[in-house]
């Protein structure tokens, strides 16, 4: 009798002749004299094997039945029910797109409860892992474990980071019947995608507010998780399920000395671009600039000029002066100040004495800052990119985008941070843009979303 087993992120079919025609996923492995397929192909492989009449013992899956379902019942919102049903109708594979604050997590809870098999939740940051862990422990009475951030506790429901999933999936990949990829737009890409490929789980749920990626690789989600089965945008849910909000764009002018320096540096940078025939509008344009700038002294000067003119835009004197005004105006609110880089975040923190969270902030301090922010002990927190995802402070009602990239996703995520419904809260997002600099175009690009129209 042939046997199907899971091994190190693959499935092995033993006891079948090499010549026997098998499902396309299988390849003959000379090293171990067996047929082998990637673990992600498990479901299709089993169906195809059954269809072809090959008798086999299926020892591959190691998932277990959950002893019980949810212990805390919450009435789902209609769009959550729609999302869940669409996922089930799609063969329990697929991506659900809902805005931040709309309750994507609850769709996952419904899925785990319905499937009742051991489940793995993969999240991008340790903050999110902690949030999932707390929620799942409070909702289910089965053991919940964490893998990552120094923990390695595998339980019927386990939460892990994408990094840890990549590291450990080759030996954990058979232990779960359902895998949930939170913020699943992180998944496409050679490293994290491997975590999905090494995993056998036949049921897969992806959650995101913004599946689109700058590199266009969101198409890979279909193979890794499944197709988009349900999608709702911020503008559809604002008011009833999300806080109402305003967006305010403020253009600030550079001071004369800033303008002179900005223009001079920008000229050096653009001259280099023109001289080397670099087309910044093309997909590889900026990569070309980075590569060529490293090849000569002139190039390195151009790179310094590029960085300096950006920096002048990021921390223009008027911008910081207006930030001072906003911090005062919202001193009794909860404001999140977003910057494009860490240097600006620390500069703001030092100048305005506002707590700062970056990738260098230790988890304990990060938790302490967020708790104090939620409690109202802090009125503002400044951050670069690490809180684009992963902060869940219901009370946050002001976002101040001091600088950012041209990414629509990032901008929508930043807005999403203040949209969690709380009483009659009305949120406001300020976007401070330095006029007549590269920021103007960057701002236009990132605002190309319904949420800003």
């Amino acid at each position: 009798m042939a046997t199907l087993v899971f091994r190190a992120g693959t499935i092995e079919l033993r006891g079948v002749a090499r010549e026997l025609p098998l499902p396309a996923a299988f390849v003959w492995d000379e090293r171990e004299a067996c047929h082998r397929a990637p673990a992600i192909a498990y479901r299709e492989a089993v169906l195809a094997l059954r269809g072809s009449g090959i008798a086999f013992d299926d020892d591959a899956p190691r998932d277990t039945e959950l002893a019980s379902g949810v212990r805390v019942h919450r009435e789902p919102r209609p769009f959550q029910t729609d999302a869940f049903e669409a996922w089930r109708a799609g063969g329990e594979r697929g991506v659900v797109v809902l805005p931040t604050g709309a309750g994507k997590t609850h769709v996952a809870v419904m899925a785990i409860d319905a499937v009742r098999r051991s489940a793995l939740v993969v999240a991008p940051t340790l903050d999110l892992v902690r949030q999932w862990y707390d929620l799942l422990r409070a909702t289910f009475s089965v053991a919940v474990g964490v893998v990552g951030g120094g923990d390695h506790d595998v339980q019927p429901i386990t939460v892990t980071t994408y990094d840890s999933a990549y590291l450990h999936m080759d030996h954990l990949g058979a232990r779960f019947g359902l895998v949930v990829f939170d913020e699943c737009h992180h998944l496409p890409g050679p490293t994290y995608a491997l975590a999905a490929r090494l995993c056998l789980a036949p049921r897969r749920l992806g959650l995101t507010a913004t599946p689109e990626r700058a590199d266009g690789r969101e198409a890979e989600l279909e193979a890794l998780v499944g197709p988009i089965v349900h999608r709702r945008d911020i503008s559809e849910l604002a008011g009833e399920y999300l806080a109402d909000y305003d967006t305010v764009q403020l253009d600030v002018e550079l001071e004369p000395d800033e303008r002179a320096e900005h223009d001079a540096e920008r000229a050096i940078y653009l001259q280099f671009i023109a001289k080397n025939g670099i087309r910044l509008g093309s997909p590889r344009g900026f990569g070309d600039f980075v590569m060529r700038s490293a090849q000569s002294m002139e190039g390195r000067r151009a790179m310094r000029a590029y960085r300096r003119q950006r920096e002048i835009g990021f921390v223009a004197a008027k911008k910081l002066a207006y930030l001072e005004h906003l911090l005062d105006r919202h001193r009794d609110d909860r404001a999140l100040v977003f910057t494009q880089d860490n240097a600006t975040a620390y500069r703001v923190a030092r100048r305005f004495l506002v707590p700062v969270i970056t990738h260098q902030t230790r988890v304990t301090e990060r938790s302490e800052i967020l708790a104090a922010f939620a409690a109202g002990d802090y009125a503002a927190v400044v951050t670069s990119k690490v809180l684009n995802e992963g902060v869940d402070v219901r009370e946050a009602n002001v976002a101040i985008v001091l600088s950012g990239s041209g990414s629509v996703r990032e901008h929508v995520q930043r807005l999403g941070r203040i949209l969690r419904k709380s009483g009659d809260k009305r949120a406001v997002l300020y976007e401070l843009v330095t006029a007549r600099t590269a920021e103007t175009g960057t701002s236009e690009r990132r605002r190309e979303h319904d949420a800003y129209r």
Partner: protein
């Protein structure tokens, strides 16, 4: 460890070839390494940002950009940075930010927020000068860390490390590695194999020409995708290879953004491998489970078995090689019983050992395999001078001794040769 960004290599057909450092390059490399080391030594006591600035100020030609970046990385890796002791930055920050929030909320609307007053208030409460508070505020950030010591090596060592490091950087992109190895002493070969096992790499071994071995190393998923998942472990093969007298290495790699399939070759004759380090101590290459067993056996009360790290290769030409981890001897008996811990990595390795044992291994041996491999002790027949100890979780020294006792009563197969 260096990365692909530090590697100056070019494609030549389907080969990736490291650009050799000629005499002039080596001279420049020594000068650069010396300059980075000097800058580090001169900046002991200063912040990481200041040291970085000093390194950036060292002029390098565009052609030597990767060389300079690699050398600098190695010097930086050898530096010891630490945060300034004194005030706890976390405590200072908490105090400063809470006071600042309160100050902003309670200030007179006609007066602007007074940053200096907040700093002074915190300084006063901690009995410090305001400048100390400013300095301590983010003293734990990496850029603010202070250089405690610079590497105490010479430029030549850094250049040697660079030559090894750039080859390893290529192996980080390896899917599969094949090595032909030769060594004067069995101990060196054994240590090499033990190292592969320690790294949990999948490898197959065959007797090669001239008494050497051909070893193919990869991971299970390698056949489906150009995964670099095993790259780090494959890169760590190189330092182990350098302990051998003679070797060649051929790696299948996926190179560049496009992950182009290429081949990369290296041998003990290449300059990249100097200097040859001293052979590894066997103990350094013992897996956690084997080490735990060694310690467990030593701690067993009244045991007649003495255990030590094995220094032998059990080679059965045409069938394969077995690399025991431990050797046990009973009081007064010259005949050893070997122990090889197979762990939980390769089920196939168990079948190969079973085959070896049944076809006449030259010594008595107990194989230890995790129950996660789903193998049964009965797979080894009664007539073989071997046993399979299947353990759950961690192997137990006591249970191992029971298997050893059983094997001790079996006879060596007729005609079996002594270990090499």
């Amino acid at each position: 460890m260096l990365t692909a960004d530090h590697v100056d290599a070019r494609k030549q057909g389907d080969q990736l070839v490291l650009r050799r450092l000629d005499a002039k390059d080596l001279r420049e490399a020594h000068e650069l390494a010396g300059a980075f080391l000097e800058a580090a030594t001169a900046h002991v006591g200063q912040t990481q940002s200041e040291v970085t600035e000093a390194w950036q100020a060292i002029e390098t030609s565009a052609r030597k950009r990767k060389l300079a970046a690699g050398l600098r990385k190695l010097v930086e890796d050898g530096c010891v940075f630490d945060e300034e002791s004194g005030l706890d930055p976390l405590t200072v920050r908490r105090d400063v930010f809470l006071r600042a929030t309160r100050s902003r909320r309670t200030r007179d609307v006609l007066r602007p927020f007074d940053r200096d007053a907040v700093i002074e208030a915190v300084a006063s409460s901690l009995g410090q000068a305001p400048a100390e508070i400013e300095r301590a505020l983010f003293a734990d950030l990496r850029g603010e860390h202070v250089l405690r010591s610079a590497p105490v090596v010479d430029a030549a060592s850094i250049v040697d490390a660079y030559e090894l490091g750039r080859a390893q950087a290529i192996l980080l992109r390896a899917v599969r590695v094949r090595c032909d190895v030769q060594a004067g002493s069995p101990l060196a070969v054994r240590a090499f194999f033990a190292w592969l096992k320690f790294q949990r790499l999948l490898f197959t071994t065959e007797r090669g020409a001239g008494g050497g071995f051909t070893v193919t190393i990869d991971g299970p998923f390698s056949m489906f995708e150009s995964v670099t998942k095993y790259g780090l472990r494959l890169a760590l093969v190189l330092p182990a290879l350098r302990t051998l007298d003679s070797w060649t290495l051929t790696a299948d790699i996926r190179w560049g953004k496009e992950r182009t399939p290429l081949s990369f070759a290296l041998s003990s004759k290449d300059g990249v491998t100097r200097p040859a380090p001293a052979p590894r101590e066997p103990a350094q290459a013992l897996s956690d489970d084997a080490q735990a067993l060694l310690e467990g056996l030593a701690a067993l009360p009244k045991s007649r078995w003495k255990a030590e790290i094995a220094t032998t290769l059990l080679d059965r030409p045409g069938l394969g090689v077995c690399i025991p981890d431990l050797v046990l001897r009973r009081d007064g008996s010259p005949d050893p019983i070997y122990v090889e811990v197979l762990g939980f990595w390769s089920r196939d390795a168990v079948w190969r050992r079973v085959e070896l044992a049944e076809q006449g291994l030259e010594a008595r041996i107990v194989f230890c395999a995790s129950s996660r491999l789903r193998v049964s002790p009965e797979v080894i027949g009664d007539t073989a001078p071997a046993a399979l100890y299947v353990y759950k979780g961690k192997p137990s020294a006591r249970a191992l001794v029971e298997h050893v006792e059983r094997v001790a009563t079996s006879m060596l197969v007729d005609g079996a040769r002594r270990p090499t």
